[in-house]
Subunit: 234 residues, 2 copies
Amino acid sequence: MDHLPVLGLDADDTLWENEAHFRQTEDRFLDLVAPWADHETAAAALLAAEKANLSVTGYGIKGFVLSMVETAISLSDGACDADRIGTILDWGRWMLQAPVDPLPGVAETLEVLAADHRLLVITKGDLGEQLRKVAASGLAGHFWQVEVVAHKTAEAYRDVLDGHGITPADFVMVGNSVPSDVLPVLALGGRAVHVPHHTTWALETVHADDVDGHDFPVLDSLAELPALLTDWRG
Amino acid sequence: MDHLPVLGLDADDTLWENEAHFRQTEDRFLDLVAPWADHETAAAALLAAEKANLSVTGYGIKGFVLSMVETAISLSDGACDADRIGTILDWGRWMLQAPVDPLPGVAETLEVLAADHRLLVITKGDLGEQLRKVAASGLAGHFWQVEVVAHKTAEAYRDVLDGHGITPADFVMVGNSVPSDVLPVLALGGRAVHVPHHTTWALETVHADDVDGHDFPVLDSLAELPALLTDWRG
């Protein structure tokens, strides 16, 4: 299968639901700290903590839990009791072990794509968390390789492609995030396809200016991808 | 340099101090929960929490912080105040950004080794935490590749070696942990060198039975490695 073209796939919110679990937990968090802050204030404080902690904790559930605990303590001015903090830890433990359900149509589409591509999952985040999700998704059998990177920069993509002897011009990346899955791959001279998801983290949204001058296909769902790739191969 | 032999190196407690930071923080934690438990009881409770959480949180500082918070809440039966929990979070933030000082003689030895080896760091743990330490150590220039794996099993080593086209028989691994750095590599048919460190985590110690029948060199320090490798090359 060495001759098959390599197709890069993002994982979270491209292959399975992820961001929604964070937002559900955030909703519960906003209720938990309601004695000390209204929802809007609390949501802003949590996002600010996540943003400030990102360079220290990296992406992932454990960093999110630490940001929630920190925010509960600061919003309550130290009045938050241990029971509430224990509840936040319980949510984290649940998220770390939650079932991973492929999005509708994804399993069938991967089966089609895997017949004439080597599927290379490129996902950013916590190594253990991401590998667990790959295993729990039931999709692992379709993947040629899985690469977990700390950040999805053009350099990170170049390192992954170099490591597998892939020329960017022969590479297509597919994902739900314009800044993480599309723009860095276009910058390397590769091709990219955007499949938006219904829920996008505030720190993954894109400014119109950044997209200006870039042209890439936007699909309603992954199920439309095989036809597009067939078109591209002409 | 493609013809140079590949030398595998563990990182934490082989190239730089790591476990000692955890043990220092643990000592402070034992003082913090002293109102509710003596040191021995608290240390046992923390280790039990770490062990129970390992499969959920993986290795690393963030999981350790979550285990400390959980243990403080359970030992105090919910009486632990938010200030104390905030203090635990502060320790975590410090550990995540702490300076990374190479062990004595390591920088000089790596310079010697890198002259006639491709140095492949294989470290387990949190991807972001491990990559930060590599960068902060000032040693990155010596390394050919850095691989962060979730667990150091024989399968994980085989995947890394396959990925780089390395035959186990041509591979030597060096590290401070017998179960993580020595035994799985011997199981693959590679060679391994043990360089013990003064501090070893309880979950990384080895039973005499596991070592029985295995023969591998044990060095007092990494500085003795170049002479040993020269000997092996005959």
